[in-house]
């Protein structure tokens, strides 16, 4: 009797990939499934669920599940709970795996072997894959795989996930294992105590010693790099330099591509504007609503791609854990956990993945503090707004001979967000928790690895697609709403003012003017801020729509010039200050509600951010005006 026969016909057997963090599990998953993978969420929780399909050499269709990395089945975070439940066959939505494949970094097997010993208690067939075998060989590490398999009592194969054909041996072994699956035994796993962990690690160490041929050389490249990158002073300086270059690049490198996209949309708008066969209203809708609106957002695609490229490179390189190490004490002073650095850095791209990434923080209070401040990190959706205002109001010249003034202002806005976040967490820690002690900081620092172009491309592509999808859905519908508000009702007969002055948008904008007047915001800004609640970048498109209709042909392409003519410098600076703090993103608030399991933290976040934004914009406007910029 074997389990392969127990499967209902048509149901593909499931193979679960389990392993320590940084063992190359995701690279292996990519190599096994290629583009035949999908990312979804486990029901009820927001843990990413990655499944893919592969066909074995024998023609067997197999479902592969990539589980979150863990050192133990003793789960401490929602991610690790998923791994435990799926492996134990307790996850309600999941078919229990027919085969558990434990992935281990061949040059760093100690902890993986202890995990294998633990996995043997789940009652399912287990296999060990020694991944990154090429790196291990280069370091002179030879492993007697037969001996290792014999001692562990599970099949052992090697793989090089990043090389073509590097997974052949693994695929063959999966075939063999699935053909002769032993009957699934009842799980006798229970959370190990300290004594059992000790015993298991000693046993794992003994097995490793018996199977190792050749002691291997230390990873000298990583050691040499760390001597500089983790140097107490030089390391911090380099980290700051990397961040500075990153933001300069986002601002400068994207420029030529952005110009091309912007010109493309202007050309498209002109074509539609000249299409005489279309009725006037439809022409205005397409040109001023759809093309000008969506175009003004899509133009920022190059910047978002560059930002994600940097973040993914740093992640794949293994630098993120170093950054957490360097920042732990500084962040700890503000009441944040060192591990919060990675979620907060991701929040520079978008607060949503950042908030979801806080799941790596085990302690609930540390996690809530991080979630609270994550939206203050300057996300990519703010870039369009910042870019527009900076290029309109800040002269494009160099200071100190080599630093662009515009880039410097951009850096200043990022810095303001960071300082704001540190200050808020400092206060939150004392206000909400009344404590300074927190979760211990413990993190493995992987060896440096050259990022694989293919996985970088896959990652950047997925993010770019998500952004474009947003531009096509949320942003497009918001643009249409703004256009409707700005176009109806039309100007009365014999009107002397531009048509938008009589529209619904103007009425709303005027209605809240008493509140925003002290900030220097005019009614056009008010109109743009309202849809900007749905997504920050919409405000740019909204301003374009409002001023395009207001100013006539050609204005949409040159929103910046129009703004420079219509706003004072004080107003522009106040709007920048507002955008550093304002809770202008409905999706972020929705994710906070979901991740914290209630409305309380969502409203707390909304309230404190709105208050900070108002105060910051008020102070900026009044001070700037007092200094003569009004």
């Amino acid at each position: 009797m074997n389990a392969g026969l127990e499967l209902a016909p048509g149901v593909a057997p499931t193979v679960a990939l389990v392993g320590n963090p940084n063992c190359g599990k995701t690279a292996l998953f990519n190599a096994l499934t290629g583009s035949r993978q999908k990312v979804a969420n486990y029901p009820g929780v927001t843990v990413e669920k990655k499944t893919g399909r592969l066909t074995t050499p024998a023609g067997r269709a197999v479902t592969v599940v990539d589980l979150p990395g863990t050192y133990s089945l003793r789960a401490r975070s929602p991610d690790e709970e998923i791994t435990r439940d799926v492996v134990l066959g307790k996850a309600k939505s999941e078919q229990a795996p027919d085969l558990v494949v434990c992935v281990g970094d061949a040059s760093n097997l100690r902890l993986a072997l202890r995990l294998v010993l633990e996995l043997k208690h789940v009652g399912r067939p287990v296999m060990l894959v020694l991944n990154m075998m090429d790196i291990a060989r280069r370091r002179g590490i030879e492993i007697d795989m037969a001996k290792l398999g014999g001692e562990l009592g599970v099949p052992v194969v090697s793989s090089v996930a990043v090389r073509r054909g590097g997974t052949d041996q693994l695929l063959g072994e999966i075939d063999r294992a699935l053909a002769g699956l032993p009957k699934i035994a009842p799980a006798d796993w229970r959370p190990p105590g300290a004594g059992e962990l000790r015993g298991a690690q000693r046993e794992a160490d003994r097995i490793l010693r018996s199977a190792l041929r050749g002691t291997g050389r230390p990873d000298s490249g990583t050691n040499r790099a760390d001597a500089i990158l983790l140097h107490p002073v030089a390391g911090l300086v380099i980290l700051l330099a990397i961040l500075f270059v990153m933001f300069q690049a986002v601002f400068a490198w994207a420029r030529p591509l952005m110009d091309v996209i912007s010109e493309g949309f202007t050309w498209l708008g002109v074509q539609v504007g000249e299409a005489a066969f279309l009725p006037d209203l439809l022409r205005s809708f397409l040109k001023d609503g759809v093309i000008a609106g969506v175009g003004s957002v899509i133009v920022f695609l190059p910047q978002i791609v560059i930002l994600f490229f940097f973040i993914l490179v740093l992640e794949d390189l293994g630098y993120m854990a170093r950054a957490a190490f360097l920042m732990d004490k500084i962040m700890g002073g503000a009441g944040l956990h060192g591990r919060a650095f990675i979620p907060l850095l991701s929040s520079f791209a978008c607060a949503i993945p950042g908030i979801m990434a806080t799941r790596v923080i085990d302690d609930r209070r540390d996690r809530l503090t991080t979630i609270l401040v994550a939206p203050l990190m300057t996300c990519s959706a703010r870039i369009p707004v910042y870019t527009l205002i900076i290029s309109a109001f800040i002269p494009d010249r160099e200071v100190w001979g080599w630093v662009g003034l515009q880039g410097l202002v951009m850096f200043g806005l990022y810095a303001t967000g960071i300082v704001g976040a540190l200050a808020v967490s400092f206060v939150a820690k004392r206000l909400f928790w009344r404590t300074t002690a927190g979760e211990p900081f413990m993190l493995e620092m992987p060896g440096y690895k050259i990022p694989q172009l293919r996985s970088l491309a896959l990652g950047v592509w997925a993010r770019a697609l998500a952004f474009l999808k947003r531009a096509g859905t949320t942003i497009l519908s918001m643009m249409i709403l703004i256009w409707v508000l700005a176009s109806f009702p039309g100007a009365p007969e014999g009107a002397t003012e531009p048509a938008i002055t009589y529209s619904l948008a103007a009425m709303i904008g005027h209605a809240i003017e008493p509140i925003t007047m002290p900030l220097g915001f005019n009614w056009q800004i008010n109109v743009a801020l309202i849809p900007g609640m749905a997504a920050r970048e919409v405000a740019v498109g909204a301003l374009g729509t409002i001023y395009a209709i207001d100013g006539g042909d050609g204005a949409a392409a040159k929103i910046g010039q129009v703004l420079a003519g219509q706003w004072s410098l004080a107003t522009a600076l106040a709007l920048l200050a507002w955008y550093v703090f304002a809770p202008q993103c409905a999706s972020t608030l929705a994710v906070i509600r979901r991740e914290t399991g209630g409305w309380k933290w969502m409203w707390t976040t909304f309230g404190y951010m709105l208050a900070l934004a108002y105060v910051a914009a008020l102070a900026t406007f009044q001070i700037a005006r007092a200094l003569g910029a009004g």
């Binding site: 100690r110 000790r198 493995e444």
Partner: protein
């Protein structure tokens, strides 16, 4: 299969003052010579460049306030801090020399000094 673990005897959990107990070295079958006792210190107080071997996890010495001691002990064990493992203190942070990066066998682990106070080590020069 988990082998029957050797439970640390209660004498390992002594107050901070005084010389380390004999049982520190039992697990490693080391003689508790005075040279060894003198060379025993907490990893949390070691300097960069220190190389040695773990002789005990003494949770009574951990300064961690955010976590029950038994949980902290299990987390240290899961990251490979087990009696008998070789360690080297590779790097430390700028402020207060914290956190530290420690090589444990083949892995490099970052942790704070206050948790590393629980990891009792003997410098390599004193090892038999």
């Amino acid at each position: 299969m988990h082998r029957a673990p050797k439970q640390p005897s209660p004498c390992c959990f002594l107050p901070l003052a005084g010389p380390p107990a004999k049982c520190y070295y039992e697990a490693l079958a080391m003689p508790d010579t005075s040279a060894l006792i003198l060379a025993t210190l907490a990893l949390g107080e070691a300097a960069v460049g220190f190389r040695g071997r773990i002789v005990a996890l003494d949770m009574s010495r951990a300064h961690a306030a955010g976590l029950p001691r038994s949980e902290l002990e299990r987390r240290l064990l899961e990251l490979g801090f087990v009696e008998g493992a070789d360690v080297e203190l590779l790097h430390q942070g700028l402020f207060g020399g914290d956190p530290i990066a420690v090589r444990v066998a083949d892995a490099t682990i970052a942790l704070r000094r206050r948790e590393a106070m629980a990891i009792m080590v003997v410098g390599e020069e004193a090892l038999p």
